[in-house]
């Protein structure tokens, strides 16, 4: 790989390792990753936060080691519950009682009164009979899909679904079929194609790279015409959408028509974990066949106690959600003035689509960090090569001043170089 070829390659190109020795990465991967231009791009991975994931935080710069104060537009802490005083207090109190870890898998010794109570509360919140917890969101989709699907079945998913859903199908040994993003006609075609097979459809409430939402009424209609159940991943939409924060299904008034409700505790909830709400008898069955549930240590009881408090606070205090939506509106208004391409976003996840030039994306990301703005660049293959982008996660905790300051930086380091606004 010559120096002029380096930038043509991406993380999509090295999944196959041609080394004889399993413990040696591919030789050209090392050549590629050692190139200074790639090192700079990769320095945006795993940058260590030095403080809480709040809008004003401190970031350790990976290359210089320097610590810089930042406006943080990258964390999923949409409602600010990760640092909410009541949530932190609940965790501290539970730590004193239960210690640090669960010390067992949920089916054996890892279930505590906290887990049991939280499952009841989540099931009541989502309006289902049952609920089960997973150690992470990824593990939740992986395990739930593994438990529901089997060899010979077809999992029909939106083309923009998360990796955890794809991997769930692989683990289950089910066939995977994708339909065009949010397109009921394409879904209909795929369901038609596999008529006669056991099928399940998976869509997401909010799509994490685009911030758009599933067209649930139209997609459900297709599912119902084929008598195929819908699995709804509300990782980013729980506590954000719907009158009472139940999610996109509540927003559209279709809660009762969704077969499986999936959610995470690492986004609006401000913690860690995944959960699946469904019919009580189905949950009882799934618990017996979801490996990530059976063979992982259960969530720490103190985390569960904190998550119970998050749910309580989010349900009690609507102002958090209102503030989030007000901030989303303010952000959008400011970004639209800058003529930036925000895709079809209609949620708290707002992409700024920069285009095909990966070098330009990284240059902009560096300039933003220099100016005290922590904005994660999203490069190919995480998104399509022609639509590399930044992704803003709006938080209820942002002040108007934070948003205005952030947008000033975005104007200087993104909108101007893209020629979206005048140089004056």
């Amino acid at each position: 790989m010559g120096p002029d070829e380096i930038l043509k390659f991406s993380l999509a190109d090295f999944t196959y390792n041609d080394s004889r020795d399993v413990l040696t990465p591919p030789g050209d991967f090392d050549t590629w990753a050692d190139d200074p231009r790639i090192s700079v791009a990769m320095s945006f991975f795993e940058q260590p936060l030095q403080e809480a994931p709040t809008p004003r935080t401190t970031l350790g710069h990976r290359l210089s080691g320097e610590q810089r104060p930042m406006i943080n537009l990258t964390s999923y802490n949409y409602l600010g519950l990760s640092t909410h005083p009541e949530v932190v207090q609940a965790a501290v109190e539970a730590l004193e009682v239960y210690g640090v870890g669960a010390s067992g898998a949920a089916m054996l010794s890892g279930t505590f009164d906290q887990h049991e109570a939280f499952c009841e509360e989540l099931a009541e919140f989502k309006g289902t009979g049952g609920c089960m917890l997973f150690p992470s969101g990824y593990a939740g989709n992986l395990g739930a899909i593994q438990a529901l699907m089997q060899k010979g079945d077809v999992l029909v998913i939106d083309s923009k679904c998360h990796r955890s859903i794809v991997d769930g199908a692989k683990l289950a040994g089910a066939r995977l079929a994708t339909f065009e993003h949010n397109d009921p006609a394409s879904l209909d075609q795929q369901l038609e194609r596999f008529e006669g097979k056991r099928r399940m459809v998976v869509v997401e409430g909010v799509y994490s790279m685009d911030g758009d939402v599933a067209d649930l009424p139209a997609l459900l209609e297709v599912c119902e015409a084929h008598e195929v159940p819908l699995y709804l991943d509300e990782a980013h939409s729980t506590l954000v959408f719907g009158e009472t924060g139940k999610g996109l299904s509540e927003h559209f008034g279709v809660e009762g028509r969704v077969g499986v409700h999936f959610g995470t505790l690492s986004k609006s909830f401000g913690g860690i974990g995944g959960f699946v709400c469904a019919d009580e008898r189905l949950i009882r069955y799934m618990k017996c066949y979801a490996s990530p549930f059976q063979f992982s240590c259960a969530l720490p009881p103190a985390v569960v106690a904190a998550m119970r408090k998050s749910l309580e606070v989010a349900r009690r205090d609507e102002t958090l959600r209102r503030r989030l939506w007000r901030n989303v509106e303010r952000f959008r208004e400011n970004l639209e003035v800058l003529n930036l391409d925000l895709g079809d976003s209609c949620s708290q996840v707002i992409p700024i689509i920069v285009g095909a030039n990966g070098e330009e994306l990284i240059t902009m990301a560096m300039a933003a960090q220099e100016r005290g703005l922590y904005l994660q660049p999203i490069d190919f293959p995480a998104v399509e090569a022609h639509a590399r982008r930044f992704r803003i996660s709006v938080s209820a905790q942002l002040t108007e001043a934070d948003i205005d300051e952030a947008c000033n930086v975005i104007e200087d380091v993104i909108a101007r170089p893209l020629g979206r606004v005048g140089a004056a």
Partner: protein
Amino acid sequence: MTEEWTKEAVVEVILKNLRENLYDVDTETIDPKSSMKDHGANSLDVIEVVSATMRELEIRVPRSELTQIENIEQLAEKFMEYL
């Protein structure tokens, strides 16, 4: 060995891998001017077919150069550039 590859042979390797990665495709009758997606391949199937073919041809073509490719023949032509 690299100069021995013809476009037809590269197409054959692609079709063989397509056959191995798809459940119900009849690769005997596939027109190289069709796309893998026309035969029911999803994006992950395509990645797998492309990876397996590059492995066999002992080449590494950047994925970013493959995003505009529309059919099997064009894919074979792109691989030929690296052989």
